[in-house]
């Protein structure tokens, strides 16, 4: 490596590259729980979220990222969930949101 003090470094790309991302785990998740794919991103879950009321936890955003193969941090985020179940009560698509939380935690513990 060079000894040059550049004062900056090459910024990592923010782009989600679906070709490079490993979509295997998310495919498995969808197979196990097809309703995971039925989200219409209304955000009701996040609005009512007990944990989201206290932290930056955004269930809608995190699971959308997971859908795109962006797993980093998903497990840690999902760990903030208290499983209280309010999100499921407001979900207009009737998704077992708590099941989604546990599925993500189970499948992505390694990421």
């Amino acid at each position: 490596m060079s000894a040059i003090e550049w004062g900056y470094s090459v910024l990592p790309a923010r782009t989600m590259d679906l070709d490079r991302n490993d979509l295997g785990p998310v495919r498995e998740m969808l197979e196990e729980m097809p309703q995971f794919g039925a989200c219409i991103a209304c955000g009701g879950c996040t609005a009512t979220c007990t944990a989201g009321n206290l932290t930056s936890f955004n269930f809608r955003r995190v699971h959308t990222l997971v859908r795109r193969g962006e797993y980093t941090g998903a497990w840690a985020e999902m760990n903030k969930c208290m499983l209280c179940g309010k999100c499921r009560l407001v979900c207009p698509r009737g998704i077992n949101t708590r099941g989604v939380v546990r599925l993500i935690k189970r499948k992505l513990g390694d990421y």
């Binding site: 007990t50 932290t55 903030k80 208290m82 499983l83 209280c84 179940g85 309010k86 708590r98």
Partner: protein, 572 residues
């Protein structure tokens, strides 16, 4: 023959019996050794106590008479009693018979069992004034009458008052088939004692049954006995982990299938493989899936009916912990200093997540507190930390305990002496898992009863409007609170009960305990519950749980209200 008590045909019987006792002893010793120290101490303390005597009596009433099954289903009760008591008496009377004819001398096991073969040459006339032949034949007929019912049940369970009966494993099939042959073969062999092939048949049936027995559901015949004593001595299963004691519970399950019919997932949502009998079977044979472990409302309806009194919900929670529990890792540290409480008072009110989604209940509680002149500390009016029960129900018990500590600390910091909650889910966890010494925990129904009896609240008597009451699982079967809400409701209206009520009450179907159920099944159950309430002719459904309220409302056109709302409407 009497001298040797040996013939070739006894070999299957001897082998079977040896295997049976070897396996049973191996299992029991292993399980006992692995009991935690605390449980072992309980055994020593209980052994020479009145609990043991009570256990003996229970063994008689339950293992032989099957009193609890009789209560649920008399036909089924008769079947079980016929098998258990009949066979037991056959053995006891058989021994007496041996003594009566051969005197007090050593007779090997096969001598008792195949008595008629070995004593073919003897005179079988009455001894001691008892016609043993007739007695034994009557007993055998009694058992056979049970057998007829058993066969009938296998093919026509509905006629036995059981809509569904359990599906069998291979071990079950082998054991059951051989068992079905045991008594008819005995009848034939004893009727024609000189026919050796019949004795061979009888011996083989017994041998096969005994070998298959410890690996089949018939293991329950023996295991129920140690279970009864261990339970009497105070040993229980735990929600937070799987224990050695669990094995006694698992193998004491006869898979009688009584748990299947009450299961609403079965009768309203068409699920056929998740009921307690199947859960226990799967766990016993190490093939439990997350789906089965998670797919239970933990409503407790089957547990109430279980003739063996198994801790079905606790066993399932233990499995969930093993399958899905993760270390806490301080994951809720972010909530440690959260205090969004409001107000001041010795009485604290904890709405809980579900009530926070039900503003009508909140408003009613507020008005009732005002009417009663109560100074209230609102623990979570602007959101707070969940009570922890949902997480516990998912199997994540360590993390749930962190949440419980956070809330308990919050309660103590504000110096309350009474904690009222309108949510039975929170109530149950406050009572069962929280350490809230010095704080009395009340469900709002209990609190209302107290306000009324203290004269702090007066209600306008209601009209003639009939209302019906739904027992929330966590409140009724969970905390044993059935009367408080009814007492309150009776002061303002006419209460009509649905067909299944109190400890048999239906579950709303949206229980937080079910981690796997799909929306369509929840709706199907809610609709069935709705129909049950509509059949009462009541004009409104009252419940005492915010979640039940929301869940039932999805399945009926009748108004569904929380107890607090009803009271608020009738405030004088």
């Amino acid at each position: 023959m009497v001298q040797t008590f040996y013939s070739g045909f006894v070999i299957p019987f001897i082998v079977g019996t040896s295997v049976l006792f070897a396996v049973i002893i191996y299992k029991y010793v292993r399980w006992m050794v692995r009991l935690p120290r605390r449980d072992k101490l309980k055994v020593w303390h209980g052994l020479f106590s009145v609990a043991t005597l009570k256990g003996i009596w229970e063994c008689f009433t339950e293992c032989l008479l099957h009193r609890r099954i009789w209560r649920v289903n008399p036909l089924l009760g008769y079947m079980h009693t016929a098998f258990a008591l009949g066979w037991f008496l056959l053995i006891v009377v058989g021994w007496v018979e041996t003594i009566a004819y051969l005197g007090l001398r050593f007779v090997p096991l096969q001598g008792h069992i195949f008595f008629d073969y070995f004593t073919q040459d003897m005179d079988h006339g009455p001894r001691w004034g008892i016609n043993f032949e007739v007695v034994m034949d009557v007993l055998l007929l009694y058992v056979l009458s049970g057998l007829v019912l058993a066969v009938f049940k296998r093919f026509r369970s509905r006629a036995m008052g059981m809509k569904r009966t359990t599906k069998l494993t291979l071990g079950d099939r082998v054991a059951m088939t051989s068992l079905w042959f045991v008594f008819p073969m005995r009848l034939l062999a004893e009727s024609f004692p000189s026919q050796l092939p019949l004795w061979w048949g009888y011996s083989i049936a017994l041998g096969v049954f005994f070998v298959a027995m410890p690996f089949s559901r018939y293991m329950h015949i023996f295991t129920e006995v140690p279970l009864i004593f261990l339970r009497r001595w105070g040993i229980t299963s735990e929600a937070g982990r799987e224990k050695s004691f669990d094995h006694f519970q698992l193998e004491a399950c006869s898979r009688c299938g009584i748990c299947i019919d009450p299961c609403q997932l079965q009768r309203d949502a068409g699920m056929r493989n998740v009921q307690s009998a199947y859960f226990i079977r799967d766990r016993r044979y190490n093939r439990l899936t997350r789906y089965v472990a998670d797919n239970c409302l933990l409503c407790g309806r089957c547990q109430v009916k279980c003739p063996v009194g198994l801790e079905l919900d606790t066993l399932r929670l233990g499995s969930r912990h093993s399958l899905s529990g993760t270390p806490s890792n301080g994951r809720f540290n972010y909530a440690c200093d959260v205090d969004r409480s409001r107000g001041e008072g010795r009485v604290g009110y904890f709405a809980g997540c579900m009530t926070l989604l039900s503003p009508k209940i909140l408003r009613s509680m507020e008005r009732i507190f005002t009417a009663a002149g109560e100074q209230v500390w609102w623990a979570d009016r602007d959101g707070g930390v969940c009570c922890g029960r949902p997480l516990k129900l998912s199997g994540d018990i360590e993390a749930a305990r962190d949440m419980m500590r956070i809330n308990a600390e919050l309660f103590r910091n504000h110096g309350i002496t009474t904690l009222v909650t309108s949510c039975p889910i929170c109530l149950r966890v406050f009572r069962e898992d929280y350490n809230l010494d010095g704080i009395e925990v009340l469900h709002h129904s209990e609190y209302f009863v107290r306000l009324l009896s203290d004269g702090r609240l007066t209600l306008k008597p209601g009209g003639t409007e009939k209302m019906t009451y739904h027992d929330p699982c966590e409140l009724g079967r969970g905390c044993g609170i059935y009367d408080a809400p009814r007492e309150v409701l009776q002061t303002v209206g006419t209460l009509v009960e649905p067909a299944e009520t109190r400890d048999e009450a239906l579950c709303c179907g949206s229980s937080l305990a079910n981690m796997a159920v799909e929306n369509s099944s929840q709706v199907a159950i809610a609709q069935a519950v709705g129909r049950a309430f509509e059949a009462t002719g009541a004009g409104e459904i009252v419940t005492a749980c915010p979640l039940c309220k929301k869940a039932i409302a999805r399945g009926t056109s009748l108004p569904v209200m929380d107890l607090a709302e009803v009271i608020e409407q009738h405030l004088a």
